[in-house]
């Protein structure tokens, strides 16, 4: 039998390793970003439960579809431009 000194550490020692786990396959609906309607308010970014909106130097970029679970909060909260949403939800597989 192994003594306690030989046992492997039981804790998770790599910080943020969930980043490599794909939750994108959970999606039933897929958000689509329509850049011309985007006012860069970043509400989608601050309200995303899955850190699935990439932002570079203060400007939003594409969705991170490996992590997006398709909840639709971003589309719901998107103010859009002149009444036109910059994020729409579309059924997966269509």
């Amino acid at each position: 039998m192994k003594g306690w000194k030989e046992l492997e550490i039981g804790a998770i020692t790599e910080a943020g390793s969930a980043d490599s786990y794909n939750t994108g396959s959970w999606r039933a609906f897929r958000p689509r970003w329509i850049e011309e309607n985007c006012i860069q308010c970043l509400f989608c970014w601050i309200y995303c439960p899955d850190s699935a909106i990439t932002v570079n130097d203060g400007k939003r970029g594409e969705f991170d579809y490996n992590h997006c679970k398709g909840c639709g909060i971003c589309a719901m909260e998107c103010p859009g431009k002149k009444g036109k949403k910059a994020i729409v939800m579309e059924e997966e597989g269509k």
């Binding site: 910080a15 308010c41 309200y47 439960p49 899955d50 699935a52």
Partner: protein, 320 residues
């Protein structure tokens, strides 16, 4: 070090300390709150996390979504664990082994905070540890399949307060934990929601700045337990505030400030009607529950308004 302004453009340049790839449900309110909390903090954070959805789903072995030192504790002792960590930090600092300023946060759901972890929370607050306890309140034991807690609102349908011919959902009103924490006489207590991100982040910064215990209660919607579509987290949090079901307020050294007063206070049914857990309340025989729910909201809101007015009157008197 300069403080990052609470503007989304500036904040988005900071590193997200909770990664994607966690297994919390699609549309969950808790990780929205956690991301905002960690983005608000301007110093290294060490966290303890009571058992609950957040703990289980962010750390499914061998993965962790946390980029900060993080300790899983049992349901009942997140506050005790973080007290111990803080005491050790103080000792090491005294010995000169740590020079950096580090702050300590305990996270718990309403089950781990209002109920099971309540005595260790109360103890940690009373002992005056320099910690922040943050409760994400989704109003039931959602992780184990929606059992009622003492945070569950009156009339809510849960698996242990099932609405049917015998009872119309939970028979008791929720307990006001935020006010109980105020009664501990600690330097900072606040209530907020992730929909009000600037309010939430301001409160997190205040809580981290005080020397001593602080408590923040955050309403975190749960679409599984609230029986709502997955895109409702922010909308329902706003309705909770606009109906004064969940007012935004804070106590700084015992002094109350109401951070937001709706121009027109919406009837509480506006908050209840979007959620399937309250669906049965809208049949005629349960009308009295809706009336009682409104009475509770009115009573608590009016008490807050009166108290704030009292503080203002007292301060004006002192100025004269």
């Amino acid at each position: 070090m300069s403080t990052t302004p609470l503007r989304l453009k500036e904040l988005s340049k900071k590193e997200d300390l909770l990664t994607g790839g966690h297994r919390l449900c699609s549309g969950c309110g808790a990780p929205i709150a956690i991301r905002q909390i960690l983005l608000a903090a301007e110093m290294p954070i060490v966290a303890a996390n009571a058992t609950g959805c957040l703990e289980v789903s962010t750390t499914i072995y061998p993965y962790s979504a946390w980029k900060i030192p993080w300790i899983h504790t049992a349901f009942e002792n997140a506050a005790a664990t973080i007290s111990g960590v803080e005491a050790m930090y103080k000792a090491l600092k005294k010995k000169g082994k740590i020079t950096e300023r580090i702050k300590f946060i305990a996270f718990g759901g309403d089950g781990g905070t209002y109920d099971i972890g309540f005595q260790s929370l109360s103890g940690a607050m009373e002992r005056g540890h320099d910690i922040v306890y943050i409760c994400y309140d989704n109003g039931a034991y959602m992780n184990t399949g929606i059992q009622r807690s003492s945070a569950t609102p009156l009339g809510a349908n849960t698996t242990t307060s099932p609405a049917g011919s015998v009872i119309p959902g939970k028979m008791q009103p929720r307990k006001n934990l935020t006010k109980i924490m105020v009664a501990h006489g600690i330097p900072y207590v606040a209530q907020t929601t992730p929909a009000h991100w600037r309010d939430l982040m301001t409160k997190v910064r205040k809580a981290l700045e005080v020397d001593g215990p602080a408590f923040i209660n955050i309403l975190a919607s749960c679409n599984r337990g609230w029986r709502t579509p997955t895109d409702r987290a922010i909308q329902d949090s706003k309705l909770a505030v606009d109906t004064c079901f969940w007012p935004l307020y804070e106590y700084e050294n015992g002094r109350l400030t109401i951070n937001y007063k709706p121009k027109e206070k919406k009837p509480v049914v506006e908050f209840l009607k979007t959620q399937g857990r309250f669906k049965h309340l809208f049949s005629p025989e349960n009308e009295h529950i809706l009336e009682r729910a409104q009475e509770i909201v009115d009573r608590e809101w009016e008490a807050l308004l009166r108290e704030e007015a009292m503080w203002k009157a007292e301060e004006e008197k002192k100025e004269q």
